[in-house]
Symmetry: D2
Subunit: 140 residues, 4 copies
Amino acid sequence: MEYFYEIEMEVRDYECDLQGIVNNSVYQNYLEHARHQFLDKYGLNFAQLHNDGIDGVVTRIEIDYKDSLRPGDRFVVRLNMTKKGNVRFVFNQAIFRKSDDKLMIQAKVFGVLTQNRRPIAPTVFDETLKAHGLVMQQEK
Amino acid sequence: MEYFYEIEMEVRDYECDLQGIVNNSVYQNYLEHARHQFLDKYGLNFAQLHNDGIDGVVTRIEIDYKDSLRPGDRFVVRLNMTKKGNVRFVFNQAIFRKSDDKLMIQAKVFGVLTQNRRPIAPTVFDETLKAHGLVMQQEK
Amino acid sequence: MEYFYEIEMEVRDYECDLQGIVNNSVYQNYLEHARHQFLDKYGLNFAQLHNDGIDGVVTRIEIDYKDSLRPGDRFVVRLNMTKKGNVRFVFNQAIFRKSDDKLMIQAKVFGVLTQNRRPIAPTVFDETLKAHGLVMQQEK
Amino acid sequence: MEYFYEIEMEVRDYECDLQGIVNNSVYQNYLEHARHQFLDKYGLNFAQLHNDGIDGVVTRIEIDYKDSLRPGDRFVVRLNMTKKGNVRFVFNQAIFRKSDDKLMIQAKVFGVLTQNRRPIAPTVFDETLKAHGLVMQQEK
């Protein structure tokens, strides 16, 4: 899979739980931070969209846990974006351990944009990314 | 769906984010807490299983976000357990807002038990629950 | 010390860290939740005060860590409120393990109310609590 | 104040609460991460000390909240270490907003080392740091 963006981060001890590994819920924090940083980079800030009357909302998340990050691990979150049907967009995200590029987490995060509480086509994403040479493929 | 267990909880303000709603990752905390409380009730504590050389691990999570909990909301997490194939077990979980019993979150959490790092059939779950009149159905 | 309020809670596994005990920062969550529940009980909700142009802000926190809560522990957070000088109010808070009433955490949380960004006397706290028979003593 | 170490970090949106600012408890996470990174740098890893039978424990924390970090803010956590009495060590920590070097948080974190559950002098810190030209002053 070709990714649009990557960000490198490091496990912080307080993110680890009793089992000595990063708690399952913390990966959602990593994934969210990567999405927000990616969107910010292209001026697609949710706060800004909100001021234009457009709201983004996550409707579904699927996470496959392949292996666990541990204290001190550095890792890379990679992502791209696709379209599914007319209104849904999808973030395809993966987390790789830095030391050996091993896949830790594979995730799909589904969302929609709404205006006046109705779903709208994610044209603003489509066009902004296209202007930077990034193509949101249509998923089957 | 028939549930095995439910636990009532309340949103804490620090669990809410910028948007004034519970952050998406926090629902995983609620879901995990409900699973652990349920298993504890039947003596299926992960710490105890670990001492018997058996480890439980989450392999996949699917969450549908239907609506958002807000500060002050009370809610109920309900769950049951099914089997999928020979080794996987599944927690079917849902979060309902207390005030109107509206569905907020629908989730499936897949896991396996391992012994000596190899997956084993979840017989310990099956038998313990059966002894309490709870049947883990086989999913297709 | 005489307390105005107490709330009972339970340690959740995800709140524990590598060392198998509740992470130091999580006690601040417990303390904040207890303060908000206490204020809510008397209609002193921060959101509501905000609509009246009054904002509450924590200026300092002191926490003595006496002992550690562990997975499964139930505990009680107790609190009262005092005044310090003309504008500061203080929450005196303590966390006791339920099983043996042992003191785990002793804390002082200092705050001020502001209106138009200037500190004001916490009269709204003083009068509301007095109406319920609770007296905010003056600290030396 | 002269600092021994600094680390630069960035606010993540999920760390912010209803008020649109970093939640008070999150600063403890930042402070803890900075301490662990600093100690790691000099081989003073708590996990490693633990294997030598020495445990570090935080006994008290004092935090003055001067101003609030917001989404997107970059910041620097600085720290040094001092001694207080015979057994206590103190981390003096401060958080500065990167854009204008404005002080956000001033904190003192007190700790002790224990061996066989008894407090011991923090000689291992003292000597290791001295070997790198860093002097733990004695606080009055």
